[in-house]
C-alpha cells in the first residue's frame, strides 16, 4: 500500500504527469457531460414540444421490468413479484406509489429512455447510400459536423479551480488565453461538413441546402464575433476562466448586483451588453441551424436540406451535431453572459473558503442548471416562431446585425472612456 501511495506521489509531483492525468480526467468528464446533454436535449426538445402543443410527448418508453429477469421469462406481473421479493405488502404505500407511477410493467423514467432507443434504432437502420454520391466526402461530412462542437467545448470552464497538494486544477479541459477565438475558429469548421454534405450528395435539394448553410454560417460568424467585443473590452481578457471569475466576483454580465457590479459604470454598460446579448443569442441560433434560422434544412422547400440523402448513423451524426452545436452554443452564452459556473450573489467565495471541492461541485451544478435553462429557451423559441425566408436571414445578418454590433463597440468604448 505504501509503495502505491509513494508511486502516486511521485507520479503526481511530476508536472507533466499531473497535467496529463488531470486533463484526461476532465476530458472524459466533459465528453460524458456533452454527449449526455445531447441526448437529454433531444428529450427536452420533444417533451417541451409536447407541453407546448398540448400533447404528452414521449412518456412511455421505459425500462421494462421483465428485463430484470429474476423470475424467468414467463413473468406476467413483474411489479408484484418484485414487491413480494422485497417483502412489501400490496397495501403498503410504496406499492401504491409504484402503481401510481405506472411501475407495474416498467419504470417509465419520464420517457428518458426514448432518445436512447431512438439512437439504437438509428444504429440498426439500413444504410442506403445513393450510387451517385462522391463517397469519400459523403462519408467525411457527418464527421466534420459532429467533431467541431465537441472540440470547441474544450475551453468552456465548467467549474472554478481546486488547489490540491500537487498543484491547482483548472476546471476546464484547456485553459487557453484565447477562449472565444478558439470557439469561433473551431465551430467555424463545421461549415465544411455542411458544404461537403450538400455538394457530395450530388443532388439538387441538398446542394441548395448546403449553399444556404455555408452562406448563413459564415455571415453570422461575423456578427457573432463582433457582438462579444464589448464584453472583452469590459473584462479585458480572452481567458474564459478569468471572465467567469470576474463575473463571480463582480456580478454576472446581465445581473451585476453584487461586488463592483453595483457601480454606475456597470449599469451604464447594461445597454451595450444587452444589445450584445440579443445579437449573440440570435447568432447562436443561426449557427446551430435552428428555427427560426433553419434555412439549410427547412422542410417545406428543401425536403431535408443538406442531409436529404443521408440515412442511418450518418444522418444521426448530423442530428447529434446539431444538438451538440446547440449545447455548446448555450454553454458559451451562459459563460459569457450568465455567469458561467458562478453560483452568484457572492456565494462562490464563501463556498471556496469553506471547502474547495464542495464549491467546485456546487458550481458545476449551477453551470448545468443554467445550461439546461438556456436549452429550454432554445426549444421554446423553436416551437413558437415561424421561420424566416432565406433572403431575410441574410439581410438580417449583414444589414442589421453587422451595423448594430459595430455601433455597439463604439458605444461601449465611449462609456468606458468617459465614465472611468
Amino acid at each position: 500500500m505504501e509503495t502505491i501511495i509513494k508511486w502516486w506521489d511521485e507520479l503526481m509531483s511530476n508536472e507533466i504527469w499531473f497535467y496529463s492525468l488531470t486533463t484526461v480526467a476532465k476530458l472524459v468528464l466533459m465528453f460524458a457531460v456533452i454527449l449526455a446533454f445531447v441526448v437529454i436535449s433531444v428529450w427536452i426538445e420533444r417533451r417541451v414540444a409536447g407541453w407546448i402543443q398540448d400533447r404528452p410527448g414521449p412518456n412511455r418508453a421505459g425500462l421494462p421490468l421483465f428485463l430484470l429477469k429474476r423470475f424467468g421469462s414467463k413473468q406476467q406481473q413483474p411489479l408484484k413479484s418484485w414487491l413480494q421479493f422485497f417483502g412489501v405488502p400490496e397495501t403498503c404505500w410504496i406499492a401504491k406509489l409504484c402503481k401510481w407511477l405506472r411501475f407495474d410493467r416498467e419504470i417509465p423514467l419520464l420517457g428518458l429512455i426514448q432518445p436512447c432507443l431512438d439512437g439504437g434504432k438509428l444504429f440498426l437502420k439500413q444504410e442506403t447510400t445513393p450510387d451517385y454520391v462522391r463517397r469519400l466526402y459523403f462519408i467525411a461530412a457527418p464527421m466534420l459536423v459532429l467533431g467541431p462542437p465537441l472540440v470547441a467545448a474544450a475551453v468552456v470552464p465548467f467549474s472554478s479551480h481546486v488547489d490540491t497538494c500537487y498543484g491547482a486544477i483548472q476546471m476546464c479541459v484547456a485553459n487557453l488565453n484565447i477562449g472565444p477565438l478558439w470557439i469561433f475558429a473551431i465551430s467555424g469548421l463545421s461549415v465544411y461538413g455542411l458544404t461537403l454534405a450538400g455538394w457530395s450528395s450530388n443532388s439538387k435539394f441538398p446542394f441548395i441546402g448546403g449553399l444556404r448553410a455555408t452562406a448563413q454560417l459564415i455571415s453570422y460568424e461575423v456578427a457573432m464575433g463582433l457582438a462579444i467585443i464589448p464584453l472583452l473590452m469590459i473584462f479585458g481578457t480572452l481567458n474564459l476562466q478569468d471572465i467567469v471569475q470576474y463575473q463571480a466576483d463582480n456580478g454576472w454580465t446581465l445581473l451585476p448586483v453584487w461586488g463592483e457590479g453595483l457601480g454606475i459604470e456597470r449599469w451604464l454598460l447594461m445597454l451595450p451588453l444587452l444589445i450584445s446579448f440579443v445579437v449573440f443569442v440570435t447568432c447562436v441560433f443561426a449557427e446551430a441551424n435552428r428555427t427560426p434560422f433553419d434555412m439549410a434544412e427547412c422542410e417545406t422547400d428543401l425536403v431535408g436540406g443538406y442531409h436529404t440523402e443521408y440515412s442511418s448513423m450518418k444522418f444521426a451524426s448530423f442530428f447529434m451535431g446539431e444538438y451538440a452545436a446547440m449545447v455548446i452554443g448555450s454553454a458559451v452564452v451562459v459563460t459569457l453572459f450568465l455567469g458561467g459556473w458562478s453560483v452568484g450573489f457572492g456565494a462562490d467565495a464563501a463556498l471556496a473558503a469553506y471547502c474547495d471541492w464542495l464549491a467546485v461541485l456546487c458550481q458545476f451544478i449551477a453551470f448545468l442548471v443554467k445550461l439546461l435553462a438556456f436549452i429550454f429557451f432554445f426549444v421554446w423559441v423553436r416551437w413558437t416562431l415561424p421561420r424566416f425566408r432565406w433572403d431575410q436571414v441574410m439581410k438580417l445578418g449583414w444589414l442589421v446585425f453587422l451595423e448594430v454590433t459595430v455601433a455597439n463597440i463604439f458605444l461601449t468604448a465611449a462609456i468606458l472612456y468617459f465614465v472611468k
Binding site: 414540444a49 407546448i52 402543443q53 398540448d54 400533447r55 439538387k204 435539394f205 441548395i208 428555427t291 427560426p292 433553419d294 434555412m295 427547412c298 422542410e299 417545406t300 422547400d301 428543401l302 425536403v303 416551437w383 413558437t384 416562431l385 415561424p386 421561420r387 424566416f388 425566408r389 432565406w390 433572403d391 431575410q392
Partner: protein, 414 residues
Amino acid sequence: MKTTKTLEFPDATGCGAAYLENDADERGELVTLNVGPSHPATHGVLRLKLVVDGEEIVSCDPVIGYLHRGMEKIAENCHYNQFVTYTDRMDYLAPMSNNIAYACAVEKLLGWELPERGQAIRVLCSELSRISSCFLGTGVYAMDTGAMTVFLYAFEEKERVHNLYEKICGARFTSSYTRIGGMTRDLPKGIEKEILDFCDSALKTVDEMERLLLHNKIFIDRLVGVGVIPREMALQCGMTGNNLRASGVERDLRKTNPYLGYENYEFDIPVAKEGDCYARFQVRMEEIRQSVRIIRQVIKNMPGGPIWVQLDKGILPPKQDAMTGMEELIRQFMVSTQCVNAPEGQVYFAAENPKGELGFFLDSKGGGIANRLKMRSPSYCTLSILPHLLPGHLVSDIGAILGSFDFVQGECDR
C-alpha cells in the same frame, strides 16, 4: 341583405417582396428543379417542374394527375346514390360539403326541395366541414412557414369536428352522409349542445392562432406582398372561394345564389383587397368565425319535422315499414337498385365549398344513372394560376404560396 366585411390590414411593415422589383442582375445558369410529386410543400401529389436561377424561380410548370381516379367516368356507371361515396374522396378535408353539393345538384335535376329541417341540417354540416377545412388550411399553412405548434392547435379543433361527424353520420372521415332527397339519419339527441361547445372552443383557438401569427414580424415579413394575385388575374384564372375573396372580389355563392336557405342566415363575406398570401390567410381565419356565426343561428332556429323529401317514389321508406309492408319493401328494393327516375335534361349546380366553387354539371337521359357528370373543382382552377404567379419568387416562397391556396389534390385530379 348583402353584407361584406372588409378585413383591416395590420401594419405591413415588412416590405416582403422587394426582391421582386430587382431585375438588374444578369441571369446565371438555369437549373431545372423538380419539386414533387412527393414533397412536403405540395400537400399531396402535385409536381412542379421549376426552372430556377439560383434561388429565383424563372418558370414553373405544374404537373397534375397523380391522384386521378376517373371519378367522372365512374359516375356514368353507378346510380346517383352510389356515387355519394365517391364525393367523399374528392375534397377529403371537407367530405360533408362535397356530399351536400352533389346531393343538391341531383335534387336540382329532379326538381326536389328538401323540407326545412333537412336544409338546416345540411347547412349545419357544410359549415362544420368548412370550419374543419379552414382550420386545416390555416394550420398547415403555419407549418409551411415553420410554425409547427399552431398546426397542432388547429388540428385539435379539426379533430373535434371529426368527433361531431362521427356522432352525426357514424364515420369520422368519409362521411357519405347525404342521399338523394335527404340524409342517412337525423341528428342524434343532444348534439346541439356539443356543437355549441365546439363553436366556443373553435373561436378561442382562432383567436389564439391569430395572436400567435398575425402580428408576428417574421410571419408578416414572409407573407405580405408575396404571391400577389391581382383582381383581374384571379378572375381570369377562375379562382373562387377564399382565394378570390382575398383578391378583393366579393363573390360568395351563399350570398349570390343562395341555396339550402342560406339567405335566412346572417353572415358577412370576408374580403381583403391585397391578394397576397397574408390576405388569403386572414380571409380563411375570418371564414371560421363567420361559419361559427351561421352554425349558432342554425342551432337556434332548428326547425322540427322530417329530413327527407316527402314523396312516395325515389326515396327510401322507413326501415320498420320495409320490414312489414309489401309496398315499402318493393320501394326499398327499387330505390336501392335503380335509385330515382330522373327526367332528361342538363343541370349545373355549384356550392360554395371551403376550397371554392364546387360545381356539378349533370347530363341526364332519364333513369337513375347520369349520362355524364362533369365536376368543376376549385383546386384545379386555383392551381392553374401557378405558371403565372410563381416566376419571380424565391424557392423559399413555394411553401408559402402553395400553402396559401389551400388546395387538395384529391379534388384537383379527381
